[in-house]
């Protein structure tokens, strides 16, 4: 799974490394597919992704093209339910019940239960082998903070993978992040990579 919602929070350097390593037949869990030619689209172009679990790919026509051509399996999930499925995995839960999507296409194939007389769907947890996360600051214990709207799915994904790898804009000393300012506590994090100067990919996108 890969953090980020659009550019903010997307770990571009870690994605580039995954492209370089050429790992194949990946299932990719991300809110969106970035934009054509950016971020996880490099994994799609390199044919590394077999299956995509997302809420939205509207900003990446290339991903839509692959999906329509039958070359990429895409599972759409309501955005907040995607977040909760990831959170559930991280929290060690075996599923969640929700009425979101009842009587829609997204209910297809999902078991239906009655709770207090209301129909709801069983949504399964989403756990990954690896989570790739972008942080604004990290310390050597793996405590993380995220900037502004770059937080999005990252704290949830940082709880929901066997191995959690973080790239950080700034690596600070232990104690340099105030305890109450930490967004992801260190015990969830396995590896931290300090970034050098940020590449253009992290910058403002002019459309």
């Amino acid at each position: 799974m890969v953090g980020g919602f659009g550019v903010p929070g997307t770990p571009f350097c870690l994605i580039d490394e995954l492209v370089r390593r050429n790992s194949r037949r990946l299932t990719l869990i991300k809110n969106d597919a970035n934009e054509a030619g950016m971020g996880v689209d490099h994994l799609l172009r390199n044919g590394q992704v077999e299956r995509l679990i997302v809420s939205h790919i509207g900003l990446n026509p290339h991903a839509i093209e692959l999906m329509n051509a039958g070359r990429l399996a895409v599972e759409f999930c309501a955005q907040g339910i995607l977040a909760e499925r990831i959170r559930a995995a991280g929290a060690g839960l075996l599923g969640l019940l929700t009425d979101i999507g009842v009587e829609t296409l997204l209910a297809q194939g999902k078991p239906v239960y009655q709770v207090d007389g209301r129909s709801c769907l069983l949504e399964t947890p989403l756990r990954a082998d690896v989570a790739l996360i972008h942080a604004q600051r990290a310390d050597p214990f793996g405590n993380l903070t995220y900037a502004a709207s770059a937080r999005n799915f990252s704290p949830l994904m940082a709880m929901a993978a066997k191995t959690v790898i973080v790239e950080t804009e700034e690596l600070v000393g232990l104690g340099d992040i105030a305890p109450e300012a930490i967004h992801t506590p260190g015990p969830f994090v396995d590896h931290v990579v300090p970034l050098g100067e940020l590449t253009e990919a992290y910058g403002v996108v002019r459309r």
Partner: protein
């Protein structure tokens, strides 16, 4: 739709944004409503990617690379803005703290069914946060053109497109009319100055209840 039409119905719809409400504006026409508010208007804008109290959009020169809204536009903070993760963002929606959402539509049915996320085979970008907004906001308002690009009415007896959420819409604003969804079906409340009731009826595929003496103009 001329830009004058567009301006007037957007201005009318912007009156939905009352002081003190927490509001999510969908991508497209709904986002434009903030342009009709006076600066400093006390409404709390929510964005799915984890912002409450979102500030106005900013030009590229002043953009913060880490601060976008759910549509990808660069936005700003205000005194009181908060950031949070995606689970918290949708807890706000599903938990009943979102007072109002204003969404676009492909079709709305007389019973309030909304279809706005897919045209199978032609348009499949994914649902994003649309289902949760439509199903759980305390008030759901649709802002759309009265007809689609092919001239077909978007206000229909029954949606032929896959639903975003069943029976969720409270009110519809188009360039021609303001229409409420009631237990009896669609009720015409207001019409635009340059249109007659007959034109609105002709452009509306769903049955429209009309109380002639009570219809306002905008």
């Amino acid at each position: 739709m001329s830009s004058a039409d567009s301006n007037r119905f957007l201005r009318r719809a912007s009156r939905e944004l009352r002081p003190g409400l927490t509001v999510n504006l969908g991508i497209g026409l709904p986002t434009l409503l903030v342009d009709y508010l006076e600066s400093g208007f006390p409404v709390c804008l929510h964005s799915e990617n984890g912002i409450a109290g979102q500030g106005p959009a900013v030009p590229y020169e002043r953009a913060d690379r880490n601060l976008i809204d759910a549509g990808g536009a660069y936005v700003s903070t205000l005194p009181g803005t908060s950031f949070f993760d995606s689970a918290t963002s949708f807890a706000l929606v599903r938990g009943g703290r979102l007072d109002l959402t204003i969404l676009g539509a492909l079709q709305v049915a007389g019973n309030g069914d909304l279809a706005n996320w897919t045209i199978p085979g032609r348009f499949t970008p994914g649902v994003g946060g649309g289902m949760e907004l439509a199903q759980k906001a305390r008030r759901v308002v649709v802002l759309c053109t009265h007809r689609d690009k092919r001239g077909q009415s978007k206000l229909v007896s029954q949606c032929s497109l896959p639903l975003t959420a069943p029976a969720c819409v409270d009110r519809i604003y188009t360039e021609m009319a303001v229409i409420d969804i009631t237990p009896e079906g669609m009720v015409l409340r207001e019409i635009a100055e340059e249109h007659g009731i007959d034109e609105v009826v002709a452009a509306t595929e769903a049955p429209l209840l009309i109380h002639e003496n009570e219809i306002g103009r905008f």
